[in-house]
């Protein structure tokens, strides 16, 4: 079970990498918990989560090789 993580915007200032890999998580809640263990500063930010480019609002089951993106508030335009 391997999940690809993409990090954007100010969250990148915390992780210092734009891509990382997380193993052995089954859903987005577990994933978020594991990420916050690894990068405690993340807990200070509000961000959305996209699974395979779709934003998910609730805890969502993850499958092997899914891509999860951490998306702080958008500021385009």
């Amino acid at each position: 079970m391997k999940i690809n993580i993409l990090v954007f915007g100010q969250l990148y200032d915390i992780t210092k990498v734009s891509q990382l890999t997380i193993y052995e998580v089954n859903n987005t809640e577990q994933l978020t918990r594991k990420l916050i263990e690894q990068f405690p500063e993340l807990s200070k930010f509000k961000f959305s989560i996209a699974v395979n480019k779709k934003i998910v609002q609730q805890n969502t089951i993850l499958n092997n090789e899914d891509t999860v993106a951490l998306l702080p508030a958008f500021s385009g335009g």
Binding site: L6, F8, G9, Q10, A50, K53, A69, L71, P72, A73, F74, S75, G76, G77
Partner: protein, 147 residues
């Protein structure tokens, strides 16, 4: 004559006035158009904590952003009677005074162009995963927040 093919929205750096002029000129062949509404976003020299913004550096989750732009286009074409619709957004560094967003909507009558253009700009700001980092003269920076 509806033109809604999928295309790349992102332009590296600023969107130039000559690019905009070429886009306008290309529409003179579409003789059923009566109204164009064009929105341009320009980078402001905002003062933040006594430092002046000199540029914004845009990054995006490009694959997801292109998908969102496509969905916005499809929804607006379904809702309004438009002839043409083009959206361009900068990626990378855009200096103050330069253009970072170009929304170009064309219709037979003016009402549809006005309504659709405004709706697109709101949706781009709300739904598309793009982030601006405001850069100051001293090369420090702060992440932009949209209102």
């Amino acid at each position: 004559m509806i033109d809604k093919k999928k295309r790349t929205v992102f332009k590296e750096g600023a969107i130039t006035p000559s690019f905009i002029a070429d886009s306008i000129a290309a529409h003179s062949r579409k003789n059923n158009i009566g109204a164009h509404d064009i929105f341009l976003g320009q980078v402001r020299n905002d003062l933040i904590d006594n430092k002046t913004v000199v540029a914004i550096e845009y990054t995006a989750y490009q694959e997801m952003a292109e998908q969102k732009f496509y969905e916005i286009r499809e929804a607006v074409f379904a809702k309004y009677n438009l002839v043409c619709l083009h959206i361009y957004h900068s990626i990378g560094v855009v200096k103050t005074g330069e253009i970072c967003l170009f929304v170009f909507v064309s219709s037979v009558h003016r009402k549809e162009a006005f309504d659709a253009c405004r709706e697109i700009v709101e949706q781009v700001k709300l739904l598309v995963p793009i982030w601006g980092k405001e850069i100051f003269e001293d090369e420090s920076s702060v992440w932009k927040e949209n209102k």
